[in-house]
Symmetry: C2
Subunit: 184 residues, 2 copies
Amino acid sequence: MADTTREKIIELADRLIRTKGFNAFSYADISAPLAIKNAAIHYHFPSKADLGISVIDHELERFAAQQRKWAQLPEDEQLKKLSGIFRQRSRQGTICLVGSLTPDYDTLPAPMQQKVQEMCSTLLQWVAQCLEKGRAHGRFDFEGSAEDRALLVMSNLLSSLLFSRALGGNIFGRMSDRMMKDIL
Amino acid sequence: MADTTREKIIELADRLIRTKGFNAFSYADISAPLAIKNAAIHYHFPSKADLGISVIDHELERFAAQQRKWAQLPEDEQLKKLSGIFRQRSRQGTICLVGSLTPDYDTLPAPMQQKVQEMCSTLLQWVAQCLEKGRAHGRFDFEGSAEDRALLVMSNLLSSLLFSRALGGNIFGRMSDRMMKDIL
DNA sequence: TTGTTTACTTACTAATTAGTAAGTAGATTT
DNA sequence: AAATCTACTTACTAATTAGTAAGTAAACAA
């Protein structure tokens, strides 16, 4: 769990963005469960955009840390680790930040749009590099460029959470299995 | 263009859901451009959920009409027609209703959740049947069940609009090309 | 010990939200 | 001609929204 109020706010905002969306959650959704006043949130994050940016930064840091932890694994195992994170999300009923924030992109303040862009390219670049190296090491077999394939891989992970939300069942499992088999 | 006020409201709401999201658009976003009062919207659609449901129904009817128009084409051509609709969307900068409404699913009133479910299964069923028949006719070549493959196809069409929104460029073209080549 | 910073609370605002009740002008029905 | 229906407008409400200004208690620094 989080120590400081600031961290608690970020973690709760993260969950709210994933469950309700950036525009649909309010300061009251954070202040009530943490038993603080909404002004306390504004103290740490002057505007809602500042909070949103911190949530994305927090996610990017976690992702970077995990990357480093996986760096020694074979590339197909690294991709399975990423897929495992999404599997967990599908069990929790939460979606990914990309799936939550890109639909609202046009309504976001400019600094947040930039952060969303940064998050998308960071994730796609990592997947592309993983696929590229994995193919060179004979661990992946697919047609087309690694960048294009990375788009499809991220697409399937992201959408499996969206479809799971509306249709339930083991949609995540079906999609990720099929996706991995396609590139192995 | 639309004749009646009711139809104008539905078409504008459709665009607002695709650009801003269901929770982020307001009655003022509709009443101002149509030069009517917000009470006029409530006259046609008592609650926001009623309006949302009508938008989905309108989309389902359009989709059913197009299906019928394509019914005589070979299945790969039918899928290309569907992809063409998404290509148009990517040029307009609008996303699809599934990509807009499934992230907000948990915040939607129950009757709208049901409609979103219906829309998802309708689209997925059509794609699955198209793939299934197309494979039987030697027009598609892919591994796994048609239902699982339909999930990946819809996933890629949907996500290409989300990624396009945040990253720009010809992401739709890259993703749909790769996706079609994978199953042809 | 005095001054300053940190991390809040209290108390508030202006704007926006979906939704409603009552009235009305014109068309349609009886 | 009278009554009803359709498609609105006028005028309003209660709730919620992000954000602010001023105060405060405790920790820390000079």
